[in-house]
């Protein structure tokens, strides 16, 4: 993969993260404290599971 392609992929990733972050900040303004805590809990649990899946990635043959 060329450096230019790598740059484009990384830029896409960074842009997606930034856009999601802005959307989250906008959504958070409209949510109650209980909703924020509840949504955060669901996100943290998903993050735990996704991190396990990420660790397994590429180790299937081992």
């Amino acid at each position: 993969m060329s450096d230019q392609t790598k740059f484009e992929v990384l830029t896409d990733i960074a842009t997606e993260i930034l856009v999601n972050e802005l959307q989250r900040r906008a959504a958070a303004k409209l949510m109650s404290v209980d909703e924020l805590i509840e949504e955060a809990q669901a996100n943290w649990e998903k993050a735990e599971k996704d991190a396990d899946d990420l660790k397994d990635l590429g180790h299937a043959d081992e």
Binding site: M1, T11, I13, E21, A28, L36, I37, W44, A47
Partner: protein, 166 residues
């Protein structure tokens, strides 16, 4: 021109300081937990994509995965403590409760995040120069979120130190 830029900077800082003046500490902490949890989910997806596109190797991917798992577990603990304290104290957390949240946040969330920043630093030093812009964008997001927690008065973290390490 310099005066104009200074004026803009001062105005921006004032806006930041005045933003949401009525928000309670518990709301700021809940908002920061929500935002950081979302970012963590995004960071995991981004790392998987970077690995699948051969931008990072297996070892780097595994290091980031380990750190993100720690962040996720620490963040879950932080959020559960926050929920418990809110149930007990409503919108007015006690100094002891804030202190407890400080400890969890600093040791279980920020520390593994710093590990990721260190990995990214190594990656940027070894990688091609034109990858730096995208990597730096990721660092900026992480620092923004971290500072969001700081402005909530939750962690007693020296973010200047973090920036130096990045």
């Amino acid at each position: 021109m310099k005066k104009f830029i200074s004026l803009i900077l001062v105005y921006s800082i004032c806006l930041l300081l005045m933003a949401c003046p009525k928000e309670t500490a518990v709301r700021k902490a809940a908002k920061a937990s929500f935002e950081l949890s979302g970012l963590t989910v995004d960071a995991i997806a981004a790392t998987a994509k970077a690995y699948n596109e051969n931008l990072i190797g297996l070892e780097t991917k595994d290091k980031i995965a380990d750190a993100l798992k720690l962040v996720a577990t620490g963040g879950k603990n932080f959020n559960q403590a926050l929920k418990k304290f809110r149930d007990q104290s409503g919108d007015n957390l006690t100094p002891d409760q804030i202190s407890f949240l400080n400890v969890i946040f600093s040791s279980e969330v920020i520390t593994p995040f710093l590990g990721i920043l260190q990995t990214l630093k190594v990656l940027s030093m070894n990688g091609a120069k034109n990858l730096l812009a995208a990597i730096n964008a990721l660092k900026v997001v992480i620092l923004l979120i971290s500072n969001g927690f700081a402005s909530a008065g939750i962690p007693q973290m020296n973010f200047r130190e973090v920036e130096v390490n990045v």
